[in-house]
C-alpha cells in the first residue's frame, strides 16, 4: 500500500513542479496577500476620529488643528458631499478653512461632540453649523458590499470555470465547427449569467430587506441598473480570463488574484476614505468599487443617475472592453 501511495504522491509532485504556472501562482499568491495586507492594515495606529476638510489636498500647515494626533483628516471636494457625510455620521465633523473657519457637527453624534472640543481648543472663533441625522448603521453600509461581493464571485468563478470546463471537455471545439462566432458565444454566456445574477441579487435584496429593514433612500430601478452594469462588467472580466487558458490552476490563480484584492480594496467591509492615495487609485480600477460606490450612493444618499453617472459609464466601458478583448483572444480548443 505504501508503495502505491508513494508512487501516486511522487507523480503528483512531479506534475505540480512541472506545471510552472501553477507553482508560480501558488507561491506568489500568499506573498502578494501578505505584502498587500501589510500595506493596507499596517503602519500607524488607527485614528479615533475622522474629520472632513473641504479641500483638494490637506495642507497640515493651514491650521494647528490639522496636526492633532489620533484624528484622521480626509479631503472632501465639495460642501454638499461633506454635509451628507456628517448627517449620516460617516465623518465626525466637517471643516471649511476658506476665509472664516466654519465647521459642521452632527449634534446627534457622540464622537462629533468630542472632536468638536478638540477643534475649539485651537480654533476658538470658529463658526458652528449644527446638523442632525442618525448614523448610517454598519449593516446599511455592509449590505450593498455583501451583495456586490456575492455578485463578483458568481460572475468571475461562475463564468470562468464553466468556459474552462467546456474547453477541456471538447464542447467548445464542437461549437467551433458550427457557424457560431466567439463573440456570439461569449455574449450568450454573459446574458445567461447576467439573468441568473440579477435574479439572485434581487431575491437577496428584497428577501433580506424584508427581514432587516435597510435604509433605502434611492430608486429601486436605479439599483437594478447598477447591478446590471456591474454584473455585465464582472462577467465580461471572467470571460476574458477564461478566454485562452486550459488549466484550472492558471484560471483559478488569476481569478483569485482578482477577487481577493477586490474583496479587500473595493470597500466591501469598510470605507477606503483615508487610506493611502495609491490604494484608492488601485481600488478605483476595480469594477466592484464602482458598483459599491454607486449602490451606496443610491441606497444611503438617494443619489440619482447624474450623481452616479461616472460609475455607470466606467462599468459599461469596462464591460465592452473586456467582452471585445475576450472575443479577440478567445480560444476554442484545449491544448
Amino acid at each position: 500500500m505504501i508503495e502505491r501511495l508513494l508512487a501516486v504522491w511522487h507523480a503528483r509532485n512531479l506534475e505540480f513542479v512541472r506545471d510552472r504556472r501553477t507553482m508560480i501562482f501558488s507561491l506568489l499568491m500568499p506573498i502578494a496577500l501578505v505584502v498587500g495586507m501589510s500595506f493596507i492594515f499596517g503602519g500607524k495606529e488607527r485614528p479615533f476620529f475622522k474629520v472632513g476638510v473641504i479641500a483638494a489636498v490637506i495642507d497640515k500647515q493651514a491650521h494647528p488643528f490639522l496636526s492633532e494626533r489620533y484624528v484622521e483628516f480626509v479631503p472632501i471636494t465639495d460642501q454638499a458631499t461633506g454635509l451628507r457625510k456628517v448627517t449620516h455620521q460617516q465623518i465626525d465633523l466637517l471643516l471649511d478653512l476658506h476665509g472664516t473657519t466654519r465647521y459642521w457637527v452632527n449634534t446627534d453624534s457622540p464622537k462629533g461632540y468630542i472632536v468638536e472640543k478638540l477643534l475649539l481648543a485651537s480654533a476658538t472663533g470658529a463658526q458652528r453649523e449644527p446638523v442632525t441625522g442618525a448614523a448610517v448603521r454598519y449593516v446599511d453600509y455592509l449590505f450593498p458590499g455583501i451583495l456586490g461581493m456575492n455578485m463578483m464571485f458568481s460572475c468571475l468563478f461562475g463564468v470562468g470555470y464553466v468556459v474552462l470546463r467546456y474547453r477541456k471537455s471538447g464542447f467548445l471545439k464542437r461549437l467551433h465547427a458550427t457557424p457560431l462566432s466567439a463573440f456570439e458565444f461569449l455574449t450568450a454566456q454573459v446574458l445567461s449569467r447576467l439573468g441568473l445574477i440579477l435574479f439572485v441579487t434581487t431575491v437577496l435584496y428584497v428577501g433580506i430587506g424584508t427581514i432587516i429593514h435597510f435604509h433605502r433612500a434611492g430608486s429601486g430601478l436605479l439599483m437594478i441598473l447598477v447591478g446590471l452594469l456591474g454584473a455585465l462588467s464582472m462577467v465580461a472580466m471572467g470571460l476574458t480570463i477564461a478566454a485562452r487558458f486550459s488549466s484550472e490552476e492558471v484560471v483559478g490563480g488569476l481569478l483569485n488574484m482578482l477577487t481577493w484584492p477586490m474583496m479587500l480594496l473595493s470597500g466591501v467591509w469598510y470605507s477606503l476614505e483615508g487610506s493611502p492615495p495609491w490604494v484608492q487609485r488601485i481600488a478605483s480600477l476595480f469594477p466592484l468599487t464602482h458598483v459599491l460606490n454607486a449602490a451606496r450612493a443610491v441606497m444611503i444618499d438617494g443619489a440619482g443617475v447624474a450623481e452616479i453617472s461616472t460609475d455607470l459609464i466606467y462599468l459599461a466601458v469596462t464591460a465592452l472592453v473586456f467582452l471585445v478583448f475576450g472575443a479577440w483572444s478567445f480560444k476554442w480548443r484545449y491544448d
Partner: protein
C-alpha cells in the same frame, strides 16, 4: 468524374518537434464516401481537422466548392469528431435543438431524431447514453444542418460489433441521400463497406488514392494464403515465397496458387487451417507502407 467538392492542396502542419502533415494533397468528388486511411500518427485527424476548418494549417490550402473555407462552409458541413462532449444536463432532444439553433438552414429536430433512430431516447439525459447511442446522437447533431459534406472521424471506434453495424446502416442511409462523406477509420471492413474512394495516408502524405477496387487491382494480382503462425514450421521459411507474419498468423502472397500449395505440401506444412482470400485494403496498406493499419 464529378467536380471536387473539397480540395486539399499541399497541406503542411508543423507542431513543435513533429510534422503531422507533410505536403498532403487530395480531391474529394461530390456525392461519394471518401475514406482517409492510415495508422495512428499518420496525420489523418490533423488533416481532417484542417479540412473541417477548426485547425489552421502551417501552409497549403483547403477549398470548398473552389473557394477557401468560409461561413458558407460552416453552414453546409456536418462534423462528428473522434471525441466530443456535450453540454451537461441536456436531454437528447435539447442537445439536438441547441445545435439546430446554430444553423440558418437544416432539418427539423423531429426529422433528425427519426433518421438516427433516437425516438425512444429523446427525453434521456445525454450523459446516460451508451456508447452506440451517444454516437447516434452525435451523428444526429452532425446532420442537423442537412450538410452537403459530412466529416466522420473514426465514428465507430470503441463501439461493440452490433452498435458498429447499426451505425454503418445509418451511414449507408445518409449515402443514399447523395451526401458527400469524408470518413477516417481503422476498420478495413468499414472502409470496404462504405467508401467509394480512399486515400491512404502515411507520414503526413497521401501515398495512394483511388477506388478500393482499382487500387487492389493495381497492386495485387495475387491471392493471400493465411495460416496460423504455430502451424508454419521454421524449416518452411526458407521456401522461395513472399512470407510475412501478421499478429498470430503467417501470410503468403502468391500469383501461382497451385505451385505454392505444392511447395507447402512438400515442406510438410499442415494445411488444415489454411485460408485463401483475395487481397484486401489491409494488405494494400501493408504492401504500400510495410505497416499494419492499426498500430
Amino acid at each position: 468524374m464529378n467536380e471536387p467538392i473539397l480540395e486539399v492542396r499541399n497541406l503542411i502542419k508543423h507542431y513543435p518537434n513533429v510534422t503531422a502533415v507533410n505536403g498532403l494533397s487530395l480531391a474529394v468528388p461530390e456525392g461519394i464516401c471518401f475514406g482517409l486511411l492510415g495508422p495512428n500518427g499518420a496525420g489523418k485527424t490533423t488533416t481532417i481537422e484542417i479540412m473541417e476548418g477548426i485547425l489552421d494549417a502551417t501552409s497549403g490550402e483547403v477549398r470548398y466548392r473552389g473557394a477557401p473555407l468560409d461561413q458558407r462552409f460552416r453552414e453546409e458541413a456536418g462534423i462528428l469528431f473522434q471525441k466530443t462532449a456535450l453540454q451537461d444536463f441536456l436531454t437528447v432532444r435539447q442537445s439536438i435543438t441547441l445545435f439546430r439553433g446554430l444553423y440558418s438552414r437544416g432539418l427539423s429536430v423531429d426529422e433528425v431524431i427519426r433518421m438516427c433512430a433516437l425516438e425512444k431516447l429523446e427525453s434521456r439525459d445525454n450523459r446516460k447514453l451508451s456508447g452506440g447511442q451517444l454516437q447516434r446522437l452525435l451523428l444526429a447533431i452532425a446532420l442537423v444542418n442537412d450538410p452537403n459534406v459530412l466529416f466522420l472521424d473514426e465514428p465507430t471506434t470503441g463501439l461493440d460489433p452490433q452498435a458498429r453495424r447499426n451505425f454503418w446502416e445509418l451511414i449507408q442511409s445518409i449515402k443514399a441521400r447523395k451526401k458527400t462523406i469524408i470518413l477516417t477509420t481503422h476498420y478495413m471492413e468499414e472502409a470496404e463497406l462504405l467508401c467509394d474512394e480512399i486515400a491512404i495516408v502515411d507520414n503526413g502524405r497521401v501515398i495512394a488514392q483511388g477506388t478500393p477496387r482499382r487500387l487492389l487491382q493495381e497492386h495485387f494480382e495475387e491471392v493471400m494464403l493465411e495460416l496460423p503462425r504455430r502451424d508454419f514450421p521454421d524449416s518452411a521459411r526458407t521456401l522461395p515465397l513472399r512470407i510475412i507474419d501478421v499478429a498470430e498468423r503467417t501470410e503468403i502472397t502468391t500469383a501461382d496458387l497451385d505451385a505454392t500449395l505444392r511447395m507447402l505440401i512438400d515442406a510438410h506444412v499442415p494445411l488444415s487451417n489454411l485460408r485463401i482470400r483475395p487481397a484486401n485494403l489491409e494488405d494494400l496498406f501493408l504492401e504500400l507502407t510495410g505497416k499494419e493499419l492499426r498500430t
